[in-house]
């Protein structure tokens, strides 16, 4: 008799854990947090990034505190800490600086911009993207290391598979694919057809971890991409063309993140003229 009760009790806990997992699966942000966290661990332990853990702590503390203070001031969902944490992890992967205060400033600006520049209640700029560009331009103390991921097939698979899980959930895989296709097409024309380099030069560019991470995790933010499918296609294409131009003729190695900041405000126009469903995280 006792035995049965114990079993029942165990079943009950199993059910609770299962239901927790089930409810966790609903929110794509949980996946993002998990994957970005794994990327950081992979970067530090296998790619030997020069990134002290306390710096990650500093960035994440700043984004969470800033987010919560803005929520206290302007209102909003308490669960928005998840979005802020994603921003913080994204910044930890990208943003490097000499001074800790530069990191704090970047993290603060990333979150603040969400509450300061909005249109119809939605923010316009991708927070991590804005934070890093702002802090690079303002302080001159921050930088991005586009070479930090290296290029490897394992990485392509790793990032690609992780991205697929998240993007199928939020329905923004189209944006990634359009962006990659645009850049690939232009790079193919330039690198292979016109300049006459071998294919491995092109593959080397496209297996860059920084490029993949940007394609799958940065431009796919469902809040700051246009709502309408065709608008998103044009939008992703525009970012692709602009980053291609910036990298090929202006030799800006971090071209995509600048292209995204420049094109982001167009989302407002697209949303005005091309209607679509407003995205909700859960």
């Amino acid at each position: 008799m006792e035995h049965t009760i114990q079993l029942k009790g165990k079943e009950r806990t199993d059910l609770t854990i299962l239901s927790l997992i089930k409810s966790g699966l609903k929110d794509a942000r949980h996946f993002q947090i998990l994957y970005l966290g794994l990327f950081i661990i992979y970067g530090i332990s296998f790619l030997r990034w020069d990134l002290a853990p306390w710096r990650i702590g500093l960035i994440i503390t700043t984004v969470l505190v800033t987010q919560m203070l803005f929520v206290a001031w302007k209102g909003g969902s308490l669960s928005s800490w998840k979005s802020a944490l994603i921003t913080g992890l994204g910044l930890s992967i990208l943003m490097r600086a000499n001074e800790p205060m530069t990191l704090v400033l970047g993290a603060f600006l990333a979150i603040a911009i969400k509450f300061v520049i909005t249109h119809q209640g939605k923010h316009i700029f991708n927070p991590a993207n804005f934070g890093i560009v702002a802090v690079m331009l303002i302080t001159g103390d921050a930088w991005v290391s586009p070479g930090q991921w290296g290029s490897s097939v394992v990485l392509v698979y790793f990032i690609g598979a992780a991205a697929l899980m998240v993007l199928l959930k939020v329905g923004r895989i189209d944006t990634s694919l359009m962006f990659i296709a645009t850049v690939f097409f232009l790079e193919y024309l330039r690198t292979i057809v016109y300049l006459g380099w071998d294919w491995d030069v092109l593959f080397h560019k496209f297996s860059s971890g920084s490029f993949l991470l940007f394609s799958f995790f940065m431009i796919t933010d469902p809040v700051t991409t246009p709502k309408n499918f065709w608008a998103r296609m044009i939008w992703a294409c525009a970012i692709g063309v602009l980053s291609f131009i910036l990298s090929q003729w202006f030799f800006i190695h971090t071209a995509p993140i600048y292209a995204l900041v420049i094109i982001s405000p167009l989302t407002v126009l697209f949303n005005h003229f091309m209607k679509g469903k407003t995205f909700q995280w859960v």
Binding site: R48, W54, T61, G75, A97, G147, G150, L195, H253
Partner: protein
């Protein structure tokens, strides 16, 4: 005479195999064919066989590239071709002092440092520190030559200069076939595979900086070496065209880059830049083998990073106004004259501005480095050096209790040193047990250990270091408070 030429041919063919280069070198094909670039003498004289050295200065769009010229052999056989983004003017090409390379190498090379443990049984503590430094590399610059005619084949001679012992042409070409034909027509033997690499450079609007030795000038000067060539230009493209040098190269080639910037470290943007393992305690017997040790360490690091990473060997703020230039110094740090020689033009003798120095070491092959090396200047001013540490044991009577503890710890420490050595170099552990147990006969009682006695701290402080647990508590506290404030005060939105 004929014999000599044959000898020369064999000699030169050997070099083809060893060919390195960020540049390609073509030679006049009258007799001998030499495709020699930045080539360093084989093992014995230097550590890395196919090693070239480049000094880069980058300030905004201004770029100064100084290329060491380690060609050995008859100056007649020397010629080189470097793709450059613009047509260089005469005042943008200079001859640099070859001692500069040796000086920078010596200053920034990996270093072996030595510490002495103090005797815990002696009343007075002495902390003696001495440094043992080994210059790993040496330069053996030599001489060369080539001859050139001129004719039109879609190839334009944009400029023609005579600088130092060199005759220099700046060529532009419309397509690779034309350039190839022109070069062959003018007696240059170029490798068949160079064609595929020339095309992309021509289409990227690059010009070709072609150098040979002016025999008369060379004889006048009476040198038995060739001077480094320095070129300067303004362009937003910050790269080194390594692909050209791979056209006929066999195996891996090493390149050491010394860079000066105004703001901070340089790093590659299309390959990973990682730090070489540093601050490791290694056994004393490595001292006479430091050269091979570092070479093995580099080989191992190169393998374990997937053969496609660029290694940071040194980074330091070398501004005249900055205090410590190295810790410890192996060679003299560069001074004002060296900066000027390298092409740094933004400081005056009293030094108000920053000069940051970076040393990168890359070993590349065609399959792992399909793209040229692209660089960026970062604001990163963190100092770094490749440093390996020897600890000499305490001397004298160690029979007191503290001394006995010290000896037991010494065994542990030496065991760690052996493990470190094996993991860094992949060497077999041959001397290990002798080294670990060297002082075991002085240990009287293995079982007894007096834990109350202090032990001499033989671990050296390592750079960086984390912050204490309190900083994490502070982070957690801040986050919790922010959540509380948000929950308590947030306005309810309509």
């Amino acid at each position: 005479m004929g014999l000599n030429i044959n000898k020369l041919k064999i000699e030169i063919m050997n070099r083809i195999i060893w060919l390195f280069s960020l540049l390609i070198m073509f030679s006049v094909g009258q007799k001998a064919i030499a495709f020699c670039g930045f080539y360093v003498a084989k093992a014995g004289a230097t550590l890395f066989n196919n090693r070239s050295e480049v000094i880069l200065v980058r300030d905004g769009e201004r770029t100064v590239i100084t290329m060491s010229n380690d060609f050995k052999g008859n100056v007649k056989d020397f010629a080189m071709v470097v793709p450059v983004p613009v047509v260089l003017q005469e005042n943008q090409i200079r001859i640099a002092n070859r001692n500069l390379f040796a000086k920078l190498d010596e200053y920034s090379g990996p270093r072996l440092v030595e510490y002495y443990d103090s005797n815990p049984c002696m009343p007075v503590f002495e902390y003696d520190m001495e440094e043992v430094s080994k210059s790993l590399f040496s330069n053996i610059p030599m001489a060369m030559n080539a001859d050139m005619g001129s004719m039109e084949l879609g190839v334009t001679i944009e400029a023609q200069y005579q600088i130092g012992e060199y005759d220099i042409l700046i060529l532009s070409a419309k397509e690779s076939e034309g350039l190839k034909t022109w070069l062959i027509g003018n007696g240059y033997n170029i490798p068949a595979t160079a064609n595929e690499v020339l095309d992309p450079y021509i289409k990227s609007n690059m010009k070709f900086f072609v150098v040979k030795v002016n025999l008369e000038k060379s004889l006048e000067a009476g040198f038995d070496y060739l001077s480094p060539i320095q070129i300067e230009f303004n362009h937003d493209r910050f790269m080194l065209p390594i692909r050209l040098g791979m056209a006929n190269a066999n195996g891996a080639q090493d390149m050491v880059v010394y860079a000066f910037t105004r703001s901070g470290r340089i790093e590659t943007t299309n390959y990973r830049t990682v730090k070489i393992p540093t601050d490791r305690n290694i056994p004393l017997f490595v001292e006479p083998r430091f050269g091979p040790f570092y070479k093995a360490l580099f080989d191992k690091a190169y393998e374990s990073e997937g053969k496609n990473a660029v290694f940071l060997e040194y980074a330091w703020n070398v501004s005249p106004s900055w205090g410590v230039k190295c810790d410890p110094c192996v060679g003299n740090p560069p001074i004002f004259n060296d900066f000027t020689e390298a092409g740094v033009n933004w400081i005056d003798q009293w030094g108000g501005s920053t000069v940051f120095f970076t040393r990168l070491h890359v070993r590349y092959t065609r399959d792992k480095f399909p793209q040229d090396l692209f660089f960026q200047v970062t604001p990163n001013q963190e100092n770094f050096q490749g440093r390996y540490i020897l600890s000499n044991p305490a001397e004298g009577d160690l029979s007191c209790d503290a001394g006995q503890n010290y000896l037991k710890d010494l065994e542990m420490k030496r065991k760690r040193e052996i493990d470190e050595l094996v993991s860094l170099t992949g060497w077999e552990d041959r001397y290990g047990s002798n080294y670990v147990l060297q002082y075991s006969n002085q240990i009287k009682n293995r079982e007894k250990r007096n834990e109350l006695l202090p032990v001499v701290n033989i671990d050296l402080p390592r750079g960086g270091g984390g912050l204490g647990i309190w900083i994490w508590l502070l982070f957690a506290g801040l986050i919790t408070s922010a959540f509380y404030i948000a929950k308590r005060f947030r306005p309810v939105l309509a």
